[in-house]
């Protein structure tokens, strides 16, 4: 239950502004891929095109193809709602639904589109998803309490539980640890390693150590200057990117000599 993503000649626009230019990348199923690069280089924007979330921002559009096991996400007649139920997303700041209990948060995506689920199935799915997000033991006694009462790290794991409950093919993570303390960060990184056995994971991070710790392959994005589009500079095995990159800009960035 996980699919590969192939991106071909993708340009991302906000109205007329070209934000990301000409990206070609192949993301293997059941692997962790990290996107690194300086702020504003378009890595988050590019990540959001992988499940059509960038369309939420007015004027957002793309040219090119994003293929999920060969199926183009941007073919006419493809419903973004279907795309997003197959390709889940975890955001920078934890965003559990504040008016829902922990349990309802986990089930939020499952109950969408008029789907019904029996009480016993729901209970076991909640437990399975929360276990999958390493959160079960911390919240099993307060499943009916609001999700907003948890700590930041717990909230983020709740959001991951909510995402995996839908059984997506791919999970996109947009700087999932940037609002968390080091211990919570470690918990999420451990979790990402476990998620790899079932899902394709793509993670955007500002933290190069994190990219080195969690990912199999790493993509380095850069930008020539403000107002210029972001580009994919180099994409290779994580070990190669950090020890022996082919491009000078990548080496400067991963070794801290940039700008």
């Amino acid at each position: 239950m996980s699919k590969r993503i192939d991106v071909k000649d993708l340009n991302v626009y906000y109205s007329k502004f070209l934000a990301v230019e000409d990206v070609n990348i192949e993301i293997e199923a059941k692997s962790v891929t990290a996107f690194i690069g300086p702020s504003g280089c378009g890595k988050s924007t590019f990540l959001r095109t992988l499940n059509r979330m960038h369309e939420v921002i007015p004027g957002g559009r793309v040219e090119g193809e994003v293929l999920l096991d060969g199926d183009n996400l941007y073919e006419s007649g493809v419903d973004p709602v279907t795309v997003r139920s197959q390709i889940g997303m975890v955001f920078q700041r934890p965003n559990p639904f504040p008016t829902m209990s922990i349990k309802d948060n986990v089930l939020a995506g499952v109950k969408l589109n008029g789907k019904k689920i029996s009480r016993s199935d729901a209970d076991s799915l909640v437990e399975k998803s929360l276990r999958g997000a390493n959160l079960w033991n911390e919240v099993k006694d307060r499943l009916d309490k609001p999700g907003s009462g948890l700590s930041g790290g717990q909230q983020q794991r709740l959001c991951i539980a909510r995402t995996i409950a839908v059984k997506p093919q791919v999970i996109l993570m947009d700087e999932p640890c940037s609002a968390l303390d080091p211990i919570s960060t470690l918990a999420i990184e451990d979790l990402i390693n476990e998620l790899k056995s079932e899902f394709t994971v793509v993670i955007v991070t500002h933290n190069m150590q994190q990219a080195a710790r969690v990912s199999d392959k790493t993509a380095f994005f850069n930008i020539a200057g403000t107002g210029k589009p972001g580009k994919l500079i180099e994409y290779a095995e994580t070990a190669t990117i950090f020890s022996n990159p082919a491009v000078k800009a990548t080496e400067d960035y991963v070794s801290g000599r940039f700008g």
Binding site: V81, F91, G109, G149
Partner: protein
């Protein structure tokens, strides 16, 4: 002598702080004092009604028998107004905030706000001259086909000047209040929560029910309460539109009366006990509004834990 460097030294910033907190406190007290003064005024002026010989009160059966029908009339008119205006207002607000293209949304919002600026006497005239005659055929249809339900019992009014017409006019009047307040709150829904719903594969409507409406719930209740306040207290439109009479269950016959219109229509010629009666009616209206607001507060407070404020 030791001096503590951390002690206050009367600087300008502190003076500003004190002035502001004093002004804020004063404003708060002023509101309470005004409310109390109104309550005391109403109570003292209304007192003769409660002690008077019941046979001397309008209707000849005491104050309760006098006030009861017009309290019910007031509640019926306000309820009709809210039943119509709440769903329509929320739907229009959602359309403006989440469905309409931007330019249309801005224009539409502006027009809705303009509706609130129309004086109530104009609404009354419109209800009297346009809406009431236009509704007569519908009332007749209701009487013929749904007449077995007491609220639609015939024969229908030939002029259309009924409590249902008054309720519809009130609905149009409270619509802009509910719409513009709801729209403001819908627009404040955190992007984060909307994106959370969309990223799970929610349709736009599901996103609205999952993140926008729960977030806006207390605000919607406040908006409806403000609308209710206007519907309960509205005088001119009801006075012009409604052909008054005793309390009857049918909404499509002449009859019923609201407190505000009762006061306005009779006040100029009232003196002595009649004046006290009308003021007592005002006191009752005041209490109804207060109770309704307290209930609304309680509803909002009950869901505090899940409000997202923590």
């Amino acid at each position: 002598m030791t001096t503590n460097a951390l002690r206050r030294n009367g600087s300008k910033g502190q003076a500003g702080d004190k002035i502001f907190s004093g002004a804020a406190l004063g404003a708060g007290i002023l509101i309470l004092a005004t409310l109390l003064a109104v309550a005391i005024f109403l109570f003292i002026q209304a007192l003769p009604t409660f002690t008077a010989d019941p046979t001397l009160v309008s209707g000849g059966e005491g104050f309760l028998a006098y006030i009861f029908p017009i309290v019910i009339g007031t509640v019926i008119a306000a309820a009709i107004a809210l039943l119509i205006a709440t769903p329509v207002g929320i739907a229009v607000a959602l359309f403006i905030s989440h469905y309409a293209p931007r330019r249309l949304a801005a224009g539409l919002g502006y027009v809705i706000d303009l509706l609130a600026a129309i004086p109530s006497v104009i609404y009354g005239a419109w209800g009297y001259l346009v809406l009431a005659p236009a509704l007569v055929p519908s009332f007749q249809w209701l009487a013929e086909n749904l007449g077995f339900i007491p609220v639609f019992a015939g024969p229908a009014s030939q002029t259309g000047k009924t409590i249902l017409t008054a309720g519809i006019v009130l609905a149009v009047m409270v619509l802009p209040i509910i719409t513009s307040l709801s729209r403001e709150i819908f627009l404040q829904t955190p992007k984060l929560h909307e994106e959370a719903a969309l990223a799970l594969g929610a349709t736009r409507w599901e996103m609205i029910t999952m993140s926008v409406l729960p977030f806006a719930r207390p605000g919607i209740i406040s908006a409806v309460m403000l609308g209710l306040g206007r519907a309960l207290g509205e005088t001119m439109a009801v006075a012009l539109v409604l052909s008054t009479g005793g309390l009857i269950p049918s909404l499509i016959k002449s009859g019923n009366q609201t407190i505000a219109a009762e006061i306005a229509l009779n006040f100029p010629e009232a003196f002595g006990l009649r004046l006290a009666e009308l003021i007592a009616a005002g006191l009752v209206l005041f209490v109804i509004t207060l109770v309704v607001n307290l209930i609304a507060r309680a509803i909002i407070a009950r869901h505090k834990e899940f409000s997202g404020a923590n």
